[in-house]
Amino acid sequence: MVNPIPYIDLAWLVPAFPLLGFLVTGLANKSLKHKQAGIIASAMVLLSFLVSLVLFFILRSSGQNEATITLFNWISIGGMNIPFAFLIDHLSLTMMLIVTGVGALIHIYSIGYMHDDERVNSFFAQMNLFTFSMLLLVMGANYLVLFIGWEGVGLCSYLLIGFWFKNPAYNYAARKAFVMNRIGDLGFILGIILLFITFKTVTFSEIFSQAAAFPVGAPVITLITILLLIGAVGKSAQIPLFTWLPDAMAGPTPVSALIHAATMVTAGIYMIARSSILYNLAPLTLNIIIVIGLATAIIAALIGLKQNDIKKVLAYSTVSQLGYMFLALGLGAYSAGVFHVTTHAFFKALLFLGAGSVIHAMGGEQDIRKMGGLRKKMPLTYFTFLAATLAISGIPPFSGFFSKDLILSKAFEHSVILYILALGGALITCFYMFRLLYLVFFGEQRLAGAHPHESPKVMTIPLIILAVLSVFGGFLNIPSLFNGDSKFSNYLHSAVVSKASEELSHSTEIGLILGSLLLLGLVIFFAYRTFVSKSMIPAKDGEPMSFFSKLIYNKFYIDEMYTAVFEKPFGYLSDFFYNKVENTVLDPVVDEIGFTTARVGSLLRKLQQGNMSFYLFAMVAGILLFIIFILIV
């Protein structure tokens, strides 16, 4: 038994603060002023960030790698013992710091962004509830506590996507997100149950220590990992369950930044990284993950090329980046995946908040064809947005370069084709991000009558902090190539067991980096020529397009396909069951039994005409028959 670490029990405070914030802002909804609610909510998240930091140092100074804090026994029957417990180790601390840190910034930003909405208090209550659920997710010491958070964030995502509930399209998007997540969750919970049946426990540490007894490729482990993967695919918006994420942009922009970019959608990656020991035993599943991740990365990036809604572009880029993280997981480079989660949280949150700032300035306009020339009007937003764009494109020394390069080099180790495909995706990413940047900030202002202005300080300060993180975040994990010591990967090493792989020689790596930089430069130049020099504006809706553009513009018709294959038939099936099976077979059969009885009755009634002579005749005939019967027998 490890020695108890002093003060580590304080961990329960981390989720407790946002929960408190939720209760206060939720219950005192009517009596709180808008600003008060915002300040309370932000303060709570900030407090839990501080506690997380303290925990980080406590754990560091204790010299131990992990600590479990059990609050109470949740379900304890027979052989099933599921405590409500938190696990504090390097992985969960990393995630806690991201969630609370980025979360706090986004909360503060929201004070400015949401200030004129009449339901601000509900907004902050739900944001705090989300933070609470997300913390449960990353802190849970067993799969079931993780699942509480998992479903909790799904609920909050549902609530916040449909925050402006008057609009039926938003409500539909919210429901779509929840249902698609639930499909994944079904796989996840079945996976948890199979874990329980196999290992008789759902606690991480116990499962992982027992898993060593299984051989690589054991069918039951493969099945478990596939079921868990279904959950991750739903939550992290991978093919085939990714279509909800772009629609989820219906929610307010800070929601998109916090939930649908920085934190919730990375839950799938967190969960797989957490289960790394199991996944290492299932090479088949890892290969599936590679295929899913790569396909998602490329398809989403392609779709991103033709989107004209500023948030939709970012949404598809999120899906695409999540694909990269999956690729890293599939390659067994779990810490690389988590590292990309971290840098992505910085720059994608920044992109969304920057987009929010733009939308705010444009008075709610989201169509990039109507923007332009904002560089001079909103310099702060422009520079931060630029930093984030460079980061996501993977330009050194911005943070995205380090994390993406790590994934690409792992792909190269695996196979060259994988590397080329992944690099292709990265180039497309670079192109559409610069397309976005040029269309929004360069050229002339195209929307008449708009008076864009820089956002208030409460919004720009979070932007600046995130910009700093986006620029320097990569230095957390400097590879040996640049004389670094891969601090981040090593830090995670105790919690996440990455697959061992041969290191590339430094010369190969330098070659790859230089090659890809050259290509990136070309792409940026090409984008500049197209959108700035030639000032080309994307076609209006309804203008004729080439087949391929049309395919991309319509997102490969995947939504339409799902509607045709699942949604519509489900409706038909429902009608069929109700109108045909229930109302023309099952129910009538029962009624028919009743009617038959009645019909036999009315047949027999004919004998009862009330005619006295007939009665007498029947009586005599009956007696005679009776006598005859007796005589014969």
């Binding site: 379900i75 079945l190 429902s574 009743g594």
Partner: protein, 488 residues
């Protein structure tokens, strides 16, 4: 002795109500009686010694008036006495016709239901089983909605037909008892009935319970009855009566004819899972909110039936937990349905919408109950369904998959209903809706608290039923070798 008190309180209170004509006083007395019953029932939980009561009733037939309970009955008793105060409160501060008769009938139903769960021999069980039907029949007939005459008639005849089979089964078992014939449950469970007999006897006994629960395809009375029934009637039906079917099956089938159960096990599980999916799919296209919830209730109960027939430890624990959680959730749901109907004057989904704009608190509470119903973690529904699916998984992964689909389908139709009613722009049907009154909070807040508390700390319920679950799951284990199950 205390069990007799629990049985008689509602009965006597009901008789007293008939003498009174003052509507408000009648409701208060009814509520007081229900609360006293609740307290008395809860006292059973905290007394270590099992309370029982027994006198010779019909001398020459050796039939005793014997009352008693075990873990399973205790859960059912708690459910009954917990729900009835809320069922009575659902009528408070509301205009109702012929109040004293209505509340007397409600209390008589409670008394009869309590009797079912307390009865210690089949004869008494059957009498109470049929007795529940009589007051309920009048509640549905006299206070029901459109088309009540036909629907009530169908409901009555359908369930009565099922009961006749049960009566036949009981008489048959009675004739099999050795020595002086008896109808005690304990004597029944000691009968060693040959396997071939058990196989047909199973259906004779099961059909009554199958209709009451209801199991697909014996459910057709349910949607129309629920839709037509007055709120308090439907609360009794969905909250407690369905559980009576489950209780009956647990009492009669598993101890008495384990071989028959084992033989038909897979058939019934498959039927129930068909019911789960069938009801969930149908619910999606319903335009009437009450019918939609009726189908959702059927889906949940079908899942419980599947769990019952899997009969392993986790499934039965989950089942008994879910009995409580489903009862509370469904009563809360129907209460909100009543509020919507009262305020908007319609339950047709196309005519509703935007109620959240006018009544935000009502929308929040509705959402909480909906979340409980779709088994979100930290609500009671999750704990129950998680255990049930774990139990199903131990039998077969496909049972778990199809049982689990209810999680997805439930989310689809419940959220659809929620959004249709509460969100969107205001529609004409929404009219001038006001937010909740104090009485609504008094009913809904405790119900939701129960849902949440059971979801966060379910352990007390587990401990309560632990012993009887262990006995029950042992029933099927040894017979597995004696007779092969019906091949799939």
């Amino acid at each position: 002795m205390i069990v007799l008190v629990i049985l008689l309180i509602p009965f006597i209170a009901g008789l007293l109500l008939l003498l009174n004509r003052n509507a408000a006083a009648v409701k208060l007395v009814a509520l007081a009686s229900a609360i006293v019953s609740l307290v008395a029932t809860l006292s059973l939980v905290f007394t270590a010694q099992l309370s029982s009561y027994s006198v010779i009733w019909i001398n020459f037939l050796e039939i005793k008036f014997a009352l008693g309970y075990d873990g399973t009955s205790l859960i059912m008793l708690i459910l009954t006495s917990l729900l009835f105060p809320f069922i009575i409160m659902a009528g408070m501060k509301r205009e109702q016709q012929n109040v004293s008769l209505l509340y007397a009938l409600i209390l008589f139903t409670q008394s009869a239901l309590t009797g079912v769960f307390l009865a210690q021999n089949a004869f008494l069980f059957y009498i109470f089983w049929e007795l529940t039907l009589i007051p309920l029949y009048f509640i549905l007939l006299l206070w029901g909605g459109e088309g009540r005459r036909n629907v009530t008639f169908k409901f009555f005849i359908y369930t009565l037909t099922g009961s006749l089979f049960l009566l036949f089964g009981i008489i048959y078992l009675y004739s099999l008892t050795p020595g002086v014939h008896t109808t005690d449950f304990s004597a029944f469970s000691n009968l060693n009935i040959p396997a071939n007999t058990q196989i047909w006897l199973f259906w004779v006994l099961f059909i009554a319970f199958a209709i009451k629960m209801p199991v697909f395809p014996f459910h057709t009375w349910q949607p129309s009855t629920y839709t037509m029934a007055p709120t308090q009637g439907v609360m009794i039906l969905a909250g407690v009566m369905t559980k009576m079917g489950i209780y009956g099956a647990l009492r009669f089938l598993f101890p008495v004819i384990p071989l028959g159960v084992h033989y038909w096990q897979n058939t019934i599980i498959i039927l129930s899972l068909i019911g789960v999916i069938y009801a969930s799919v149908i619910a999606f296209r319903q335009t009437n909110l009450k019918t939609l919830i009726a189908f959702s209730s059927m889906a949940h109960v079908s899942l419980m039936v599947a769990a019952m027939f899997v009969l392993n430890y986790y499934a039965v624990q989950g089942l008994l937990f879910q009995v409580l959680s489903h009862g509370v959730t469904i009563v809360a749901l129907f209460y909100i349905v009543m509020l919507i109907e009262e305020k908007a004057g319609t339950l047709e989904l196309p005519k509703l919408g935007g109620i959240k704009l006018l009544a935000p608190n009502m929308a929040i509470l509705f959402l909480l109950v909906v979340l409980g119903s779709i088994a979100l973690p930290l609500t009671a529904g999750f704990v129950g369904e998680f255990l049930i699916i774990t139990g199903l998984f131990q039998q077969s992964i496909w049972f778990a998959v199809f049982g689990g689909i209810t999680m997805v389908l439930g989310a689809i139709y419940m959220l659809y209903a929620y959004q249709r009613v509460m969100l969107g722009e205001k529609r004409p049907g929404s009219g001038n809706i006001t937010d909740l009154k104090r009485i609504d909070y008094i009913v809904l807040i405790p119900l939701i608290t129960i849902i949440l508390v059971l979801g966060i700390y379910p352990q007390p319920v587990f401990n309560l039923v632990e012993a009887s679950v262990t006995t029950m799951q042992n029933l099927l284990v040894p017979v597995a070798e004696v007779i092969p199950a019906l091949p799939l």
